[in-house]
């Protein structure tokens, strides 16, 4: 629990120089299943997360049928899901709410964060800082093996009586306190996932602080590492309050305490037999204390990836590298004191709402600076439009839309109208779907050669990108109009309302956009598996990049580097005048 079990070294324990590759072959289960190697764990996290991203996406596609064609039976699949969930092939409202809650939870906690932090963080960070592994390899393994049962429990909760959690991914009490047992499973799964994240974040911080290669000072770190460091601090300090809140909600549900339940509740005509005296808003404070920094946990690693890909494909140093670093640090810091803008409509007093409104506006400034730095990095470049670069480029306008539409939501007066409408859905999906997930796809295409020694197919990659890019905008852009029309979120049947009927045509557009987006993932899946065997073989540095991970073999063996890497210069020395190549890697001694 407290003392890390880190008998990492062979008997003598003090070794600095690593002695190349393993002398003894480990048995299969130690090498690929219960492995302590950061690369294997990174890939385990990455693949698990990709599976959950597609699973969470599938849940959403089911919901989109109900939204586009409310009350009509879903062809083929409707029958398969059983009579409780879809009586006569028509979705039940309870099932719709389960899908909604689980879509949010799975995408955020089982998809994006594990891919961005567990996957890319684990695989890339030690390589980029020239470390042989993470600081605590066994702790790293433990982190994954705590995470996975959490995921299994989360998904298995669909089979409980009453189904999975159905109180939204935010699980606001009292609704969640009185919900069916699926909610308890949700809470226990969250405790496991949070614990796993905490173990991971400790590992990341120690690794980045202690294990950097010789010459790799903080101002020589790739931007991705800076982003991961800030992310790790967010996870470390913001997650425990949600763990505490989960414990309190578990107590409310199992021990019948009243932390979130006030006195005098009457549920379906029956007075609730509880002591009362609690406060439902307490949960919201603790939840959003995590969940707002969580937004930056999602976006910062993606920004890091985009920075790497942009520098590599514009063949010039990142514009304003230090400014970028200051911005992410400031962003991380501020993200702790803006959370209550999610609670403007709970009857907050004017002083506190004004305070949170001001901090919310302040936090938009570093985002503007980051975007400016990225776009100025394009200026004067020699831009290669490889597949990772296409995804990274698309990240910029998508993130811009997501950021701009945050303005009306962060301002209290306009939030009165837009709060909890589809405008909110559009806003944060622009940040996390075509924003973060595109950034993560850029990472998959960019580092796949490092992980497998083979490149992904560019034609399939470009097909994947273009169809996804067009489809995803057909999904999220109409949501702003639905939100402006006043349509509430989380409605099983929006056509109940006159203003919902006014924008129902858009729901059909959105749903078809979603299904097209699903089709667009087929080339990616084919590409991902086919390239394992058939992709073009690559050497250490297929992208002519400058950062340390490209000094290791592709794929890197145990211990990562053949010789201990030494760093000689800044991370993005591209197109240095007077050099024969347009890239001067950090690890090359000659200028």
């Amino acid at each position: 629990m407290s003392v890390q079990q880190h008998t990492a070294t062979t008997g003598n324990g003090h070794g600095h120089a690593h002695d190349g590759h393993g002398h003894h072959e480990l048995p299969f289960w130690r090498k690929y299943i219960f492995s302590a190697d950061h690369k294997v764990i990174g890939i385990q996290y990455g693949v698990t997360a990709l599976v959950f991203l597609f699973f969470g996406f599938t849940l959403m596609m089911l919901m989109r049928w109900q939204l586009a064609y409310p009350g009509q039976p879903l062809p083929v699949f409707g029958k398969l899901l059983g009579e409780t969930a879809m009586p006569g092939g028509v979705m039940a409202p309870e099932f719709y709410n389960q899908l909604g809650a689980m879509h949010g939870t799975i995408m955020v906690f089982l998809g994006v964060v594990p891919l961005a932090v567990g996957g890319f963080g684990n695989f890339v960070v030690p390589l980029q800082i020239g470390a042989p592994d993470m600081a605590f390899p066994r702790l790293n393994m433990a982190s994954y093996w705590v995470f996975l049962p959490g995921c299994v429990l989360m998904v298995a909760s669909f089979f409980l009586e009453g189904g999975a959690a159905q109180s939204g991914w935010t699980s606001y009490p009292p609704l969640s306190d009185i919900a069916p047992p699926g909610q308890t499973a949700w809470l226990f799964a969250m405790v496991l996932i949070i614990t796993s994240s905490l173990l991971g974040s400790i590992n990341f911080i120690v690794t980045i602080v202690q294990l950097r290669a010789k010459g790799l000072s903080f101002w020589r770190l790739p931007f991705f590492v800076h982003a991961q460091l800030v992310t790790a601090f967010l996870l470390l300090l913001a997650f425990p309050p949600l763990e505490a809140a989960s414990v309190l909600q578990i107590m409310d549900r199992l021990a019948h305490t009243s932390f979130f339940l006030p006195s005098g509740l009457v549920v379906s005509g029956e007075p609730l037999k509880i002591a009362g005296g609690g406060n439902p808003l307490l949960w919201q404070h603790l939840f959003w204390f995590l969940a707002h920094p969580e937004v930056y946990v999602l976006i910062l690693p993606a920004m890091g990836i985009v920075a790497e890909v942009i520098a590599n494909n514009t063949r010039k140093p990142l514009w304003g590298y230090r400014l970028l670093v200051y911005s992410v640090v400031f962003l991380g810091f501020m993200s702790f004191i803006v959370w209550a803008h999610h609670m403007f409509m709970t009857g907050m007093g004017t002083t506190m709402s004004t305070f949170f409104q001001i901090t919310t506006m302040i936090i938009s400034i570093p985002s503007v600076i980051i975007l400016t730095c990225f776009i100025m990095s394009l200026y004067g470049g020699n831009i290669r439009f490889t597949t990772p670069m296409l995804f990274a480029t698309a990240f910029l306008p998508m993130f811009a839309i997501g950021g701009l539409t945050g303005l009306p939501l962060g301002l209290t007066a306009s939030d009165i109208y837009l709060h909890d409408t589809f405008y909110v859905i559009g806003h944060f999906h622009y940040v996390v779907a075509p924003g973060t997930i595109f950034g993560l796809f850029a990472g998959v295409y960019y580092w796949y050669p490092k992980a497998t020694g083979r490149k992904l197919n560019e034609t399939l990659g470009k097909l994947h990108f273009w169809v996804s890019f067009v489809a995803i905008n057909f999904i999220f852009m109409p949501m702003f109009f639905q939100g402006m029309a006043g349509l509430s979120r989380r409605l099983y049947d929006p056509t109940i309302y006159a203003h919902g009927r006014g924008v129902q045509a858009l729901n059909v557009v959105i749903s078809w956009g979603a299904w097209t987006l699903a089709l667009a993932q087929i080339p990616f899946i084919i590409n991902f598996f086919m390239s394992l065997k058939r992709g073009a073989r690559v050497a250490e540095n297929p992208w002519n990049a400058t950062t340390l991970e490209w000094a290791a073999p592709s794929p890197p063996g145990h211990g990562n580097f053949l010789t201990e890497p030494v760093v000689y210069r800044e991370p993005y020395e591209y197109s240095v005048p007077g050099q024969p190549n347009d890239y001067s890697p950090q690890f090359r001694a000659e200028a």
């Binding site: 409202p93 309870e94 709410n97 909604g100 109180s167 606001y172 009292p174 609704l175 009185i178 006030p262 006195s263 005098g264 009457v266 549920v267 005509g269 007075p271 439902p280 808003l281 063949r315 409509m345 709970t346 009857g347 709402s353 409104q357 506006m361 400016t372 776009i375 394009l378 470049g381 020699n382 831009i383 439009f385 480029t393 910029l396 306008p397 701009l404 303005l407 009306p408 301002l411 007066a413 306009s414 009165i416 109208y417 709060h419 909890d420 409408t421 109009f481 402006m484 029309a485 006043g486 509430s488 979120r489 409605l491 099983y492 929006p494 109940i496 203003h499 006014g502 924008v503 591209y574």
Partner: protein, 261 residues
């Protein structure tokens, strides 16, 4: 209900305070569009002008971009203006300049899964005492049968009648979970928090038949937690109140002082 008034943008505004919110929304969206289009043009220019091609090379030295500082400065100034010039004053005015309580129509709302229960004070202008222990199928707000002030109280379900031109103050609460009281055309939204009574106010400017929606997930019936908002002329409203007033009864006990948070 007139369906044609609902399109792909803001529905009509029939409230006194809503115009300022709409103005803020319009300024905001023009600003956002301007910024995005200007930024997008520069973005596309960069992508085309600096694409890789034979004979083209990247610039190592960073460009001195004074313009970006001006643009960032401009964004900052506009944000400060939006914050302190538009949003905060509108919010503070709405939250603090509550209309004179004596002139307003007072209504209480007790939300439940999945209905809106309104309590009108009736002729005496006093709400009858309520308590959770009295709640039953035909007493949805838990009106104390012993309380004289409650004898003339009018209870409606999913039906909010209000007059034009008179401020309405609704004290909202919930008996089970969190709901959110949302009338798009009146630009009103307020979460109903169980255990708390939170006041909201609005004043309608024209009569009509509109909708009340629940904006916060409250369970499987969240989607159908719909109410009708009927804005009447003052005369029609008075008539409605008179017609629906409960029949007078003997009032046995004196009214206990009202409990307020």
């Amino acid at each position: 209900m007139d369906e044609k008034i609902y399109g792909w943008w803001l529905p009509p505004d029939v409230s006194v305070h809503g115009a300022k919110i709409d103005q803020l929304m319009s300024v905001l969206h023009w600003f956002m569009a301007l910024l995005f289009i200007g930024w997008g043009i520069f973005f596309l220019y960069c992508l085309i002008r600096f694409r890789a091609r034979p004979g083209h090379a990247a610039l190592y030295t960073p460009v001195k971009a004074i313009a970006t500082k001006y643009i960032e400065g401009f964004v900052l100034v506009v944000e400060i203006f939006l914050l302190f010039g538009l949003s905060t004053p509108v919010w503070l005015a709405y939250k603090n300049n509550v209309p004179d309580s004596a002139k307003a129509l007072h209504v209480r709302l007790v939300a439940e899964q999945f209905a809106w229960n309104f309590q009108y004070p009736g002729k005496d202008g006093k709400f009858g005492k309520t308590d959770a222990s009295f709640i039953s199928a035909d007493n949805p707000v838990g009106l104390d049968p012993e309380d004289a002030a409650g004898k003339d109280d009018l209870i409606t379900v999913n039906n909010l009648h209000i007059p034009v031109g008179q401020p309405v103050m609704v004290d909202i609460s919930s008996k089970d979970v969190i709901h959110s009281f949302n009338i798009p055309v009146l630009r009103v939204k307020q979460d109903t928090i169980p255990g708390q009574m939170i006041p909201v106010w609005f004043e309608a400017t024209q009569p009509g038949h509109f909708e009340l929606a629940c904006a916060q997930l409250c369970g499987l019936g969240h989607y159908r937690m719909r109410g009708d908002v009927l804005i009447d002329t003052p005369e029609d409203f008075a008539k409605w109140q008179a017609e629906n007033a409960p029949p007078p009864q003997e009032a046995p006990a004196a009214a206990a002082p009202e409990e307020k948070k």
